[in-house]
């Protein structure tokens, strides 16, 4: 369980102070898949970096499974509980062979070699890359690299996976691979997932969506409730998903289509009896 209570974070550039987070309070129970959306500069990444104590709140408290992030003695525990994956896969890979890269974390934990071996194999299996274990990373596609980065985190056996725009630099296949991997990990391993994205079709897959704007948490609810509020989304500079827009346009023409459609399969199901 992650808990934020009245968390604010300010940084200074020159004489100007900017509040990147402004009194954010929320709880994320174990096993939940939460998408975080918002414009550039809305505080999404700042929020993510508070979850594993990369940043510490200027005000308020962040706890991860009861561990206060401000307490230096908790740092190891928190970093092990909360794994982070960033936008650019090339910046996250350190070794010249994939399985060595995945072993980097467990090696740093000082685990016995047999345990490291077992963790690396399990992690690569979980992201579907077992057969590529001896490849050099530069021969992988973007989606594969990002899955290696995820495997490296899994080898630490975290409970919470935080992904900060993991598909932004990938092509459509790479995006699909990463999204599928995340969904599988969530259902197979029961991981809590916090997923930052600009893509509404990715956010639609979550249990819950948070919208950030100017450092504040401005909306929090299930995808169907959030994604079907075009006015709110536009006001926040966000996209309304294509199928929600189409549903609105069809309704205007008098077709009996529900307004809260968010995916292509849903739209197919709902149009079938009408056509």
């Amino acid at each position: 369980m992650i808990r934020l209570e009245g968390v604010s974070f300010s940084y200074r550039s020159g004489s100007k102070e900017t509040k990147a987070l402004n009194e954010v309070s929320l709880e994320i129970p174990r096993g939940e898949f939460v998408a975080v959306v918002g414009g550039n500069g809305s505080g999404k990444s700042t929020l993510a970096k508070h979850l594993n104590a990369l940043l510490l709140p200027s005000e308020g408290v962040v706890t991860v499974d009861g561990n206060d992030t401000r307490e230096p003695d908790n740092l190891w525990r928190i970093r092990q509980l909360v794994g982070m994956v960033f936008q650019n896969p090339d910046n996250q890979i350190v070794a010249s062979v994939i399985e060595e890269d995945v072993a980097f974390g467990p090696e740093n934990l000082g685990l016995p070699p047999a345990e490291i071996r077992a963790r690396v194999d399990a992690a690569l299996r979980a992201v579907g890359l077992s057969e590529l274990n001896l490849r050099p990373p530069h021969l992988l596609s973007g989606g594969q690299k990002q899955r290696v980065a995820i495997a490296g985190i899994l080898a630490m056996q975290p409970e919470i996976l935080v992904l900060d725009e993991p598909t932004t630099m990938l092509d459509p296949r790479g995006r699909d691979e990463v999204v599928k991997t995340v969904l599988e990990l969530r259902s197979n391993l029961g991981l809590t997932v916090i997923y930052i994205t600009h893509l509404m079709e990715e956010a639609a897959l979550a249990d819950r969506i948070l919208i950030m704007d100017a450092g504040r948490l401005v909306a929090d609810g299930p995808p169907r409730a959030i994604l079907t509020k075009p006015d709110l989304l536009r006001q926040m500079g966000l996209d309304v998903s294509e199928m929600t827009r189409l549903a609105g346009m069809l309704r205007q023409r008098g077709l009996p289509v529900p307004a809260d459609i968010i995916s292509v399969p849903e739209m197919v199901d709902c149009l079938c009896p009408l056509l």
Partner: protein, 298 residues
């Protein structure tokens, strides 16, 4: 300035164990004023292709002729001229900003062209206005103090200040939020409407469908398809097999067709989808009421 590419191949690191054929025998022509989208998976050769168009890369074999000039022979003043006529915005161009002020950064290109300083002032101001930045507000600021979306616009202004005839953008919206993405795309559209040739490399099929009149599909260095978006996106299965998508509305129409609903599948925009679905719905409702009448009078 028409672009004629004939049997273009490009090999990286020839003669080493890392030799890679990035482009294989690509031939295509681009006329003045076209809006062309280039799509393909990572590693398909998109970036390699566009870097030939302003002479950053030279063909390993084949030829690239821009406005009558063979780029493989271009050097010195002619190459400089070519780079000014064909503006190329790289991926994440904000990483290439380097001057102390926005003004100096945008002025860098025109100054290199040895344009008189008085004209540079005018060009920079016009370019900043064109990309939607207020010259008065930003000209003396450090480009690094701006937001990501603003920095990208400064980078684009640096290209526009050279007044290119052909504008090539390599994934110009990657990493931008939806508002920033729309702003950049509107800008690109307005540049094209002023008569420039635009080449847009993109992974966002909705954007491609909305903007481009022609789509070029690259796959493993080869030209796989070249045609209007409506035709290209009809190849739903083929595109998926090479790791590309189609606009969501196209995928919807294919989904409806796969369960035998009588809809057209060559639909690429929301408006078209609305009209097609509304039309089929209306005909069915109409046919339904005819049947009803037939039954009641029979």
């Amino acid at each position: 300035m028409p672009i004629v590419i004939t049997n273009l191949s490009h090999v990286y690191m020839p003669g080493t164990p890392l030799v890679t054929a990035a482009l294989k025998n690509v031939s295509l022509e681009i006329e003045d004023g076209e809006f062309v989208a280039i799509i393909g998976a990572t590693g398909s050769g998109k970036s390699t292709l566009v870097q030939h168009l302003n002479g950053l890369l030279k063909p390993s074999s084949g030829s690239v002729v821009v406005n009558g000039m063979r780029i493989e022979e271009a050097k010195g003043a002619a190459l400089k001229k070519l780079r000014q006529r064909v503006g190329l915005l790289f991926q994440y161009p904000e990483h290439q900003l380097f001057e102390e002020t926005v003004f100096d950064d945008v002025a860098f290109g025109p100054r290199n062209m040895e344009i008189p300083e008085a004209n540079i002032e005018r060009r920079v101001t016009a370019a900043l206005e064109q990309v939607g930045l207020s010259p008065g507000d930003v000209r003396d600021r450090s480009p690094f103090a701006l937001s990501g979306g603003q920095m990208r616009r400064v980078a684009l202004a640096g290209i526009m200040a050279m007044d290119p005839t052909v504008l090539i953008l390599d994934e110009p919206t990657a990493g931008l939020d939806p508002r920033g993405r729309q702003e950049i795309l509107e800008l690109v559209r307005s540049v094209w409407e002023k008569g420039k040739t635009v080449l847009l490399v993109s992974h966002q099929m909705e954007d491609v469908a909305r903007l481009a009149a022609r789509v070029i599909v690259l796959h493993q260095g080869e030209l796989l398809m070249d045609g209007p978006p409506r035709k290209v996106f009809q190849e739903f299965g083929k595109l998926q097999s090479i790791g590309l998508g189609v606009p969501q509305v196209t995928s919807l129409m294919h989904g409806l067709r796969s369960v035998n609903r009588p809809v057209r599948t060559d639909i690429i925009t929301l408006e078209e989808a609305r009209d097609e679905i509304t039309g089929v719905y209306g005909r069915k409702a109409h046919a339904g009421s005819d049947n009803h009448r037939a039954v009641s009078t029979g």
